[in-house]
Symmetry: C2
Subunit: 318 residues, 2 copies
């Protein structure tokens, strides 16, 4: 189960967040459609929803929604992909084949994406039941990449500032040697980092929409760069310093000796290596809500692939 979870998550991590328009809703989407299995992520930047489904679960839901459906799950699924992928990749505002898609937010916070199409002359229905994604998924797919991007961009700002200072030094030298401009309008102001930053913020911030939903081309490129970078690096031990308990203690007992080992989260690189195992492994978890899956994924030691035992951390309570 972990494997399946990691596999599709690993694939999705490498995908860009694409702006999509689903029945008038502007969202960002990531989607992966495998061999009768899929994993989709949707966000309006106020919440992130996901659904991961595999063969058995897809067949079950397809039958529930289409009583008269006799097509094998493969045929049904390939038609589903054909119809829904244009919408989920933003390559088409409206799916082909006169399919109709609507988005509904449930009172429980879930989001249903309903699809009506036609297969062999009969109406064909499908529903994506998207639940709020686990926080760990949001951290992997958005928080960490965005923080890395911010760091990179800040460093680039600093680097360009340094270049501007050098340009000014060169210009200064020309001027001191009596050089003059043939065209006055070419003269530039001396660059002063702080003044420039303050002016920039004063001008730009008010124009910035509060809810920026898109990654433009530059940010998409940067996102791709940092997730690839991240996926090829091992997680540092300093990130996994928690003392983990063997069993959560029901009775509060502050003096307990914390015996535990340090374990690292599954690494995206490993997740990707397990891609092929997806279908088989995933089938076992058909139709479980994603949140549960991940809660287990991040908690069950037995299922952690990169379990590094480490010297017992001396607890502060002894």
């Amino acid at each position: 189960m972990m494997e399946a979870w990691e596999a599709s998550s690993g694939i999705l991590l490498q995908r860009p967040w694409l702006p999509v328009n689903i029945s008038g809703c502007h969202l960002l989407a990531k989607s992966w459609f495998g061999d009768t299995a899929y994993h989709i992520l949707l966000t309006d930047m106020h919440c992130v929803w996901e659904e991961r489904m595999v063969s058995a679960a897809i067949q079950k839901r397809a039958q529930e929604l289409n009583k008269r459906l006799r097509a094998p799950v493969q045929a049904f699924f390939s038609h589903l992909c054909e119809v829904v992928q244009p919408t989920l990749t933003g390559s088409d505002g409206r799916p082909t084949d006169e399919a109709l898609i609507s988005l509904t937010k449930q009172e429980d916070g879930n989001v249903n994406m309903r699809l009506k199409s036609e297969l062999a002359g009969l109406p064909l229905y499908w529903e994506f039941h998207c639940t709020p994604a686990p926080v760990t998924v949001v951290c992997v797919q958005l928080v960490r990449p965005l923080l890395l991007m911010s760091h990179l961009l800040q460093q680039q700002v600093d680097q360009l500032g340094g270049l501007l200072v050098k340009k000014d030094a060169e210009i200064q030298d020309y001027r001191e040697n009596g050089a003059t401009l043939s065209r006055e309008r070419l003269q530039t102001d001396f660059f002063e980092e702080q003044t420039n930053r303050e002016d920039f913020m004063a001008k730009t911030l008010p124009l910035l929409p509060r809810d920026t939903l898109t990654f433009d081309a530059d940010l998409q490129r940067l996102y791709a760069a940092v997730v690839t970078h991240g996926a090829t690096r091992k997680r540092r031990l300093s990130e996994t310093c928690f003392v983990e308990e063997e069993r959560p203690s029901k009775e509060p007992n502050p003096d307990v000796n914390q015996v535990g080992s340090v374990r690292s989260e599954p690494d995206e690189a490993e997740e990707q290596n397990q891609t092929r195992k997806l279908d088989g492994a995933a089938a076992k978890t058909a139709d479980r809500p994603s949140v549960k899956q991940s809660a287990q994924a991040t908690s069950d030691p037995a299922e952690r692939p990169s379990s590094k035992p480490k010297k017992k951390k001396v607890g502060l309570f002894r």
Copy 2:
């Protein structure tokens, strides 16, 4: 309940993410300690945890953890603040008063922060029970600010690139008029945006830690700017385009007519205005897990403050 949730969330939004070191764990923390109420957020960038507690719940837990405790909750709480705040603000690696703090990750994914101190010569215990934060909270406190920061920084990169092009034009003009440098080393290379970006990425990316945990001074300043900017803006209707159902339908029924209205999420600005209502309102929800609170906060129409009724959205299924 909503009010309390929004109030402390609104206050926390304006706080920086501070690097803290809790018994060897490097985390980022946001915390708010009010009048016998607190709200803390912790993240290792792989998950985000939080706990919000109010007077009644604090008293209950204090009694459970300290059977012989007779101090009124106010005295207990002010001592707790004194002891734990240095740690949660990173102003001190180790709290005062010989207090001992340890962090434990439960198998269920929760994080307990246990504290041992002394009050009036008796050992005094406290436990923060932090549960994974709702995705909506992670979006407000991290995802949206970080995306806005990335947009701003990208625009600043573009602006500085523009300045460099102007500098080169000025330098070009001097050179064409026969100007020469007195010091050769002052000569700069012609700035070419794409080449510069590629060189920068090639040099910088490999040096970037995969798990960057800190907001440095520049990013802190930028974070403060965008959250303030965001909090003073109303949410756009385009953000709330979901057709919401009156009741989630048990039976899958794709042909249902989606009668619903468009509602907006609570606005941070409003959240802040409701700060004073925190204690009173919050008391009602003492000791409920934060996840539940937020699930309700984002789902119960009756409790939505900025409920804007709107023309019925014509569903696509009719």
